[in-house]
């Protein structure tokens, strides 16, 4: 009995291993260090977004605005990061604060107006896209300083810088969620909001905090993306929210709230990355790549609901 339960819990992990083993057999390039460095670099942006949205989904909310936040913060960053304009810290702060601000705005509207998070963040998503287009006049902003481009393209001891950011953010997020009082409040709010409120948790404050965190991480993702492609693009990040939510869901975060881990989400992120990478290596047509991704998302949710049923 115990082993069957374990098997279900680790279902995603097993699926992940199976995919990796298959890819290793059919593509000799798959299991090389250089390929894995590439996979981790490519998933870094989605990982930052997925970590943020995991917090939000655990509280029972959703954030659809993150793709637009990536664009706005990217444009703000690019505007501030021309060569010899400001010290490096200014564009970075600009990007982070932009993300944080939009996150707080989301949280404020959701807690004060009692409008569903889905609707609020949908509105902010559209507004954000518009703002990015307004600031940039609909054109990409290029000619950025070399020091800034290091964030997305540089290496330390052979490890691409985006991977270092990924490791740091992953560590911080999982400690916050697992080991702190705040983390427990996040689960409590998502598990049963009334009960959390009755036991003296400031529900609104917790919600504000998760949206702010999600915004902040989206801002960071915007900085990373802008630096990686060395331009700020107003149409960057379209559909990123869906990739991030997909990663969280594949990683076992329950869309009804109260369940989810940062490690699980990281697995979801890597699974998506491995699939994209592997299907490219095998030269599988883009048509099939989309079908494969959809099957995995639905499979993950099925597994999740199966888990819930058998556990209760």
């Amino acid at each position: 009995m115990q082993s069957i339960k374990k098997l279900k819990e680790y279902g995603i992990f097993i699926a992940f291993l199976l995919i990796c083993i298959t890819l290793t057999i059919i593509s000799p390039q798959f299991l090389t260090i250089s390929n894995w460095l590439i996979i981790f670099t490519q998933v870094a942006i989605n990982a930052l977004l997925a970590f943020g949205v995991t917090f939000v989904i655990i509280t029972g909310g959703i954030d659809l605005s993150i793709g637009s936040v990536v664009a706005v913060s990217g444009i703000v960053v690019a505007t501030l990061a021309h060569p010899d304009q400001f010290p490096l810290i200014i564009p970075i702060l600009g990007g982070l604060l932009t993300g944080l601000f939009i996150g707080i705005l989301n949280g404020f509207l959701i807690t004060k107006s009692k409008i569903a998070p889905f609707i609020v963040t949908l509105g902010i998503m559209t507004i954000g896209r518009g703002v990015a287009l307004i600031i940039s006049n609909g054109r990409p902003i290029s000619n950025l300083a070399d020091s800034f481009n290091f964030i997305g393209g540089g290496e330390i001891l052979g490890i691409p810088f985006p991977i270092i950011i990924l490791i740091i953010v992953f560590s911080v997020c999982s400690i916050v969620l697992k080991k702190t009082v705040f983390g427990r409040y996040v689960y409590a709010v998502g598990g049963n909001e009334q009960a959390a409120w009755a036991s003296g948790i400031n529900v609104n404050q917790v919600k504000m905090a998760v949206y702010a965190l999600c915004g902040l991480l989206s801002g960071l993702a915007g900085i990373l993306l802008t630096s990686r492609i060395t331009t700020g693009q107003p149409n960057a990040g379209v559909g990123f929210e869906l990739d991030a939510i997909a990663a969280a869901v594949i990683g076992g975060t329950s869309t009804t709230g109260g369940i989810g881990t940062i490690t699980g989400t990281l697995f979801g992120v890597i699974l998506i990355g491995v699939l994209n990478n592997g299907l490219d290596l095998l030269n599988v047509s883009s048509y099939y790549q989309q079908v494969a991704m959809g099957i995995i998302i639905i499979g993950a949710v099925l597994l999740d609901s199966w888990n819930l049923k058998t556990n209760r």
């Binding site: 990686r228 492609i229 693009q233 994209n276 290596l281 883009s286």
Partner: protein, 306 residues
């Protein structure tokens, strides 16, 4: 032709000075629906249209179809309801935007297509033939390779007319070079970051076998260049894009990209408005004005740099 423009400008100025109340009735109103105002090239065409409209004293209503053929049709319908004098359409899609053209024709409002084609022909079309762009780019690669080598193709968003036609043109050229092998074709959705990711993955699977990359847009080509640079392979691989955006021209200047293909937004935008106004005055127009693409390399770069 120039005389007419002057005449029209004067007429409009005259009207504008004479009676501001009557202005709304007498001024020619052009409704224009554009594929996407989030794409630099389309924004450039729109700007040129606006410039020309201002110059000729025409009122231009510019709307964004946001890549949705359905939205585009609704916009054309509302233009018809507003009784505009002329419609300019920059189609979202070859087939799906055709009904919009048909509505305008049925409402007897002259409609001019700009940039890309529709199955149902508008009264006049001003634009470029994307098949030609694909041909020019691939031909350059084939000649650079001396007719022998391995090529990768990065395509735009699958199913869009620019993607289909640029691929068609490239494949036509490849047919006449049997010793050039197309290793793989994958989509990167016109996106620079996606182009970079795809190229990184390709470097893993094909490595030094890669001799050239044809990217259907400059954005994706610039992403591919970044990936190649990171692997120290740029010197050995030819990279060619399409669109001649400023970033790409800079890259050609620095030798990071080998060539790009210039699409003339100025002639397309201004041409569309001019043609529309001729239609309004019932003058004869060319059914199709094809503005040629031009190959841009280091040699002729200075003509295109802003």
């Amino acid at each position: 032709m120039k005389n007419h423009i002057f005449l029209l400008t004067f007429t409009c100025l005259f009207i504008a000075c004479n009676s501001s109340k009557k202005e709304e009735k007498d001024q020619i109103v052009v409704g224009a629906t554009m594929l996407s105002m989030q794409t630099e090239f389309i924004v450039n065409i729109s700007d040129e249209m606006q410039k020309k409209a201002d110059e000729m004293g025409v009122k231009l209503i510019l709307v964004d179809a946001e890549r949705s053929p359905l939205k585009q049709m609704e916009q054309v319908e509302s233009f018809i309801a507003q009784k505009v004098d002329l419609i300019v359409i920059n189609p979202c899609e070859v087939e799906a935007s055709s009904p919009a053209v048909a509505r305008a024709i049925a409402a007897k409002i002259p409609i001019v297509g700009v940039n890309s084609a529709t199955t149902i022909a508008p009264n006049a079309f001003v634009g470029s033939d994307d098949v030609e762009a694909g041909r020019i780019a691939m031909k350059y690669i084939a000649e650079k390779l001396g007719g022998k080598g391995n090529v990768l193709m990065i395509t735009g968003f699958i199913g869009q007319s620019a993607q289909i036609q640029r691929e068609k043109g490239a494949n036509e050229v490849l047919k006449s070079y049997p010793n050039i092998k197309l290793l793989a074709t994958q989509a990167a959705d016109w996106d620079r970051a996606k182009g970079m990711d795809l190229m990184q993955n390709w470097i893993q699977s094909y490595g030094t076998k890669i001799n050239a990359v044809f990217s259907q847009s400059d954005e994706m080509a610039l992403g591919a260049v970044k990936a190649l640079q990171a692997s120290n392979m740029k010197d050995k691989v030819i990279v060619v894009g399409i669109d001649a955006i400023q970033d790409a021209l800079q890259a050609v200047k620095k030798g990071e990209m080998d060539a790009t293909v210039f699409q003339n937004s100025k002639q397309q935008g201004a041409g569309a408005i001019e043609t529309a106004l001729k239609l309004a005055k019932k003058q004869s127009v060319e059914k199709q004005t094809i503005i040629p693409f031009q190959l841009v390399t280091k040699e002729n770069l200075s003509e295109f740099l802003k």
